[in-house]
Symmetry: C2
């Protein structure tokens, strides 16, 4: 052990040339003669030379690292998104620093801080459900670190984002239920912080309006995404004098919890109560009673798109260009089982 790794200086010393020549030779700089270029490369190969990236990072003020902040990795939605992000990152010779906020604002802040200290070249984030402000992200502007939000996008201007158009598919989902004869459709929504830009609810409303169905406010309940929160919200719906016959629910995980609970309560799924949901995660294939339909949000594509946007911003940054704020909206798609 304790091997001194070979450096450019070492190569220069052995060849009796200067370090700058070695550096240029290794980079195929035109002003280095073929003879020396060959000699340098040969020796470099023999010594197993590899550039010290930390020195380069330091010198170039770049780390070839992007930070990814998201609520958790448990949900297949996010792990699918990571696949997209990672694939694009690898293409650009970047590597991904991942941090989970576990839906905790303080932890999210700490992660962003830590990533800033590590001088990531850019950040991709999906905010936590307890994120009430995004100062910690806005701070990054002072460090020239671009931030791209995806999926869970804060309701703010002057940000870059990639998200799905959930409005259209929400209209479609609710219309689909209405056409199947449902007249009372509950909406089990997420926590308020994630509803700032509430496309799901807007779509829900719109579908009702289109079909001249009155909207009963008591049919709209919230969960904090925890199992208990979902159960409480579900109870609230079931205690209504006029129960809903179908429920539009925040995402598949919430739906699975709700269905699980409903079955404990001896409700007949798809008879007493139907579910339509968001995310269309693969795990629903294994369950006995999956939601009847789910809105596919193409997490992989969102990840790819967000990362490509981020790289555009990073490039703009290095070329000192002002980048306009981009808010990319991808299509979503109602998948009927």
């Amino acid at each position: 052990m304790e091997k001194k790794l070979p450096t450019i200086k070492e190569i220069a010393r052995r060849l009796n040339i200067s370090a700058s020549t070695v550096s240029r030779a290794l980079h195929d700089h035109p002003s280095i003669g073929l003879r020396t270029k060959m000699a340098v490369k040969k020796l470099a190969a023999e010594l197993n030379y590899e550039p010290n990236q930390t020195a380069i990072f330091f010198k170039q003020r770049k780390t070839f690292t992007i930070g990814l902040v998201l609520p958790n990795l448990r949900e297949e939605f996010f792990s699918a998104a990571i696949n997209g992000i990672e694939d694009v990152a690898i293409d650009h010779n970047y590597i991904v620093l991942i941090g989970q906020s576990h839906d905790d604002l303080a932890r999210e802040q700490k992660l962003v801080e830590s990533m800033k200290n590590h001088r990531v070249d850019g950040i991709i984030a999906s905010i936590s459900s307890s994120t009430t402000h995004i100062e910690h992200f806005e701070q990054m502007k002072n460090y020239d670190i671009p931030v791209v939000f995806f999926d869970r996008v804060p309701d703010a201007k002057d940000i870059h984002s990639v998200s799905c158009n959930l409005y259209d598919s929400s209209v479609e989902a609710v219309e689909w239920l209405i056409k199947k004869g449902h007249k009372r459709i509950g909406y089990l929504q997420g926590p308020p912080t994630l509803n700032m830009k509430n496309e799901r609810l807007d779509g829900y409303m719109e579908a009702h309006k289109k079909h001249k169905l009155p909207v009963d406010e008591s049919l709209i309940v919230s969960t904090d995404l925890s199992v208990e929160g979902t159960q409480k919200a579900f109870d609230a719906l079931m205690l209504l004098k006029k129960r809903p016959t179908a429920i539009l629910s925040f995402n598949d995980y919430v739906t699975l919890d709700a269905i699980h609970y409903a079955r404990q309560k001896k409700l007949a799924i798809n008879k007493d109560i139907c579910f339509v949901s968001y995310a269309n995660v693969p795990v629903t294939q294994y369950v006995e009673y999956p939601p009847l339909a789910s809105v596919e949000q193409f997490p992989y594509d969102q990840g790819v798109s967000a990362t490509e946007l981020l790289f555009r911003l990073i490039d703009k940054k290095t070329s000192r260009l002002e980048a306009p704020y981009e808010n990319i909206v991808l299509k979503s798609e109602l998948i009927i089982r």
Copy 2:
């Protein structure tokens, strides 16, 4: 934008003192007077000074980053392990670089290479199912980068590892099936590369031996973990003249695929055929027919343990001590539903 971030030099210039004094003042070095120390800190706070980590990384030859290489993030087993790893890392002010091999050796190699270039201080890895050799990990010794394997541990000496004792729980699992009256128990194992140290099979054998049950080799089949692979393996079992009445299966994901397939084949789960499995992932709670029992492998604890071991190795490294190879084995536990 385009703000020049404040540096130590800048502070020194403004205060008409030397950079070294500023550096020491910020680190509460004893040989700096209280007066100047205060002045430095005050100005540093005003300027919002933050040390340039890349410079420090470079100088200290440390990056406060650990690399994590694993097959995928989709399986909850791994995302749970990450939670443990991340928690310990954060405590040590470290951050985690994640890469998925997607069970592809070439990609795994590329990831390790990339992490080496990023000069991670250590690597935690769970090998891909196509990893037939571990040269790329052994290379890391040349760079003084310690490697800790967890869960999917290669069968090699001179490595550090954290894993679960699956032998005892495998014996227990099969005995449990035997006691329930099963006489023909299939074993649906993983791909050969993951079976090098085959505790599951050894336990399976031992239980048969203990109960004087003959082992029928045709009851032992393999899947490459893909859905199709699992179906083929399952078919092989079902085409036997004397079918098994129970199956011990590589992990819960394989089991879910198998059960799904068995139901398509109109088999009555828990009547025609029972399943016992490994991992005990939470998602099995949502399915109609989960495995009857599953071996909990405590991924979070494995993650914590692996990371703690890694930090011990990193510390040893900085203090130039030889570290003996540690192979930590945690308990597993058969969970009966």
